[in-house]
C-alpha cells in the first residue's frame, strides 16, 4: 500500500473500533511501513485500542533499545512464528504478548524463569501452589494449600517443610530479594 492508502486504512480501522483521537493521530504519525505493520497486526488479532497500545508500546521500546523499526520488531521470528501458526485469536494474542514481554524485559523474565525452575525443583504435591509476586515487585511468596483431608493437609505441610531446607528454597528468596 502507498502512504495515502495506509493512512486511509488506519483511519477506517480506528474509526470502526472507536479508537480515541490521541491514539489514532499517534498511529498516523508513524512512518508508513510501521503504520502498516501495526495495522496488519491489529487486523489479524482484531485488537481494541488498549490491546493495541500495550503491544505497540512494548514493540516501540524494544525497537528503540535494539535500533530496529517497529515493523522489524513485529515481523521478528518469534512473533512471526506465532502470527502464522494455528492458534485461535485469543491464544495468539496471549502468546504474542508473552513473546513481546520476554523481549522487552529480558532480565526480569530470566529471573522469573529461574524462579519457576526452582519451584519445580521443590517437587511439591499438587495441592500446594506457589505464586510469585506480580512483576517480582515484592519479596514474598504466596503459598497456598488446598486439602480435603487431614492426610492431604499433613502431606502438604511435610513436603513444604522438607522443601524449605533445600538449596532451591534458599535461592528462591535470594532471587526475590535482589537481582543476580
Amino acid at each position: 500500500m502507498n502512504t495515502v492508502d495506509v493512512q486511509a486504512a488506519i483511519r477506517r480501522y480506528a474509526g470502526a473500533r472507536m479508537y480515541g483521537a490521541v491514539t489514532t493521530e499517534r498511529w498516523l504519525r508513524l512512518p508508513s511501513p510501521d503504520g502498516e505493520a501495526l495495522l496488519q497486526l491489529a487486523t489479524e488479532l482484531r485488537l481494541g485500542e488498549n490491546q493495541l497500545r500495550d503491544l505497540w508500546d512494548w514493540a516501540e521500546e524494544i525497537g528503540e533499545r535494539d535500533q530496529l523499526t517497529l515493523s522489524r520488531v513485529l515481523s521478528a521470528q518469534p512473533i512471526a512464528a506465532v502470527r502464522t501458526g494455528h492458534l485461535g485469536r485469543n491464544d495468539k494474542l496471549k502468546v504474542i504478548k508473552a513473546v513481546l514481554r520476554r523481549l522487552r524485559f529480558p532480565q526480569l523474565v530470566a529471573v522469573e524463569d529461574r524462579l519457576a525452575d526452582l519451584v519445580r525443583t521443590l517437587q511439591l504435591p499438587r495441592n500446594v501452589r506457589i505464586s510469585l509476586p506480580e512483576q517480582l515487585e515484592g519479596d514474598q511468596l504466596r503459598i497456598e494449600i488446598t486439602a480435603d483431608s487431614v492426610a492431604a493437609w499433613r502431606a502438604a505441610a511435610s513436603a513444604l517443610l522438607a522443601a524449605s531446607d533445600t538449596p532451591a528454597g534458599a535461592e528462591l528468596f535470594a532471587l526475590l530479594g535482589e537481582a543476580p
Binding site: E61, E64, R65, R104, Q107, L108, Q135, E137, G138
Partner: protein, 384 residues
Amino acid sequence: MATRAEPLVAGHWWRVNRESMTLSPGQYWLPDSVWIERGEEQSALARRLRARLPNTPTQVTDELLAAEPHDFGAGKRRLVVQRHQGSFLHHCPAGTTGMVCCNYLVVNFASNCPFDCSYCFLQDYLSNNPATKVFTNVADGLAEIDGVLRAHPERAFRIGTGELTDSLALDHLTDLSCELVPFFAERANAVLELKTKSDCIDNLLHLDPKERVVVSWSVNAASIIAAEEAGTIPLEARLTAAARVQAAGYKVGLHFDPLIAHDDWETGYRDAIDAIFRRLETQRIAWVSLGSLRMTARLKAAIKARPQRGPLLTSELVPGPDGKERVWRGLRVKMYRQMLEWLRQVDDRMPLYICMEPAGVWEKVFGAVPADREVAQRLVAGLG
C-alpha cells in the same frame, strides 16, 4: 551579600545549548520575556528583575492565564512575576501511602525550572501552567514557615525549595537565597535544603548559614548528565561549586536521583562517586539520597514526545503499587546495595537514605525500616 551593579547580558544559553547539551560555568539562565502581574510592579522582586534585565521585553498583565505559553518548552523561556496564592508549605509528595517517608517539607517560591532534564516530572505536573514563575510575596512564605516551626519546637524539620524548581538556577535574578539563608540561620529546629544542578552560588558565599542550610546537588553518571540533563552543567562543574560552598561553611547534600539502569551503570556510578569524593570533604556531607527513576504514564508520554531520547524508556520499568513505573525491584535493590557499599567505603558515617521506596526495599537495602519521623530526625541531628 553579592550584588550586581551591572545589568546581565542576555545570553539565551537555553537555545544554544539544546544542541550541545551543556552549559558553560558562569553562564546563567535569562528569560526571553518577563510578564509581571498588575499590582506587583513595585514589589522588590519586580524592581530587581527590571534592573537586571533592562533589555528583556517586559509587560504588565492583568490576566495571568494569558501569560501561560501553550507549550512546556516556551514556558521555560518566559518569566512570570506574580503573587503566590494559598499555602507555600507542603508535605513532600514522596510521602505516598506505602512508601517510607522522610518527613520532608517543600516550600515553593518559584515554579518550573530553566533546565530541561528529560526525566523531569514537571513535564507532566506543570503541563497546563508551564511558565517559569517567581513569587513576590516571599515574606508571606517565611511567616508561614515561622508559624509552623514555632508551633512544633520539639520537631526537627527539613524544608526544601527544590520541588517545583531548581533552588538556585534563578538566584542570580531573584536573590532569594539572601532572604532564605539568614532566616533559617536563626531557626533552631529546621534545616533548609537548596537543591540544584547549577553553579549559581555567588550569593551563598557571602552568607553565614550557621549549619542550618544544606546546599545539595543532584548528581548522576556522566553519560546520563550528557544525554538526559539538557542545559545543566557537567558533574565536574557542579563539584567545583559544591567544594566552594563547603569551604564557605555549608554542608553539602548529594542526590543520586534518578538512578538509571543503563548499560554499564556500575562503571558510570562508580566513576561519579570517585569524582565526587576526590573533590568534597566527607565530613561536610549532610546526607546522600538514592532514588530510582519513577515514571507516571503522562510523564512517559511526554518523554516519548521529545525529539531526542536516551536510555530512559528502554530500561526494564514495571508498574509498582503506587502506579508509577520503576526498574523492577530486584534490580533496584541491587543498584541501591551496590551504591551503598561504594559510599560506605568512602565514609561509613555518611547519612544515607533512599527515596520513595516501600518498607520491604528499605529492609533489603539497610537491614531495617525506620519508624515514622526517624529519618528526618537522624538527618537533622547529624548536622550538629
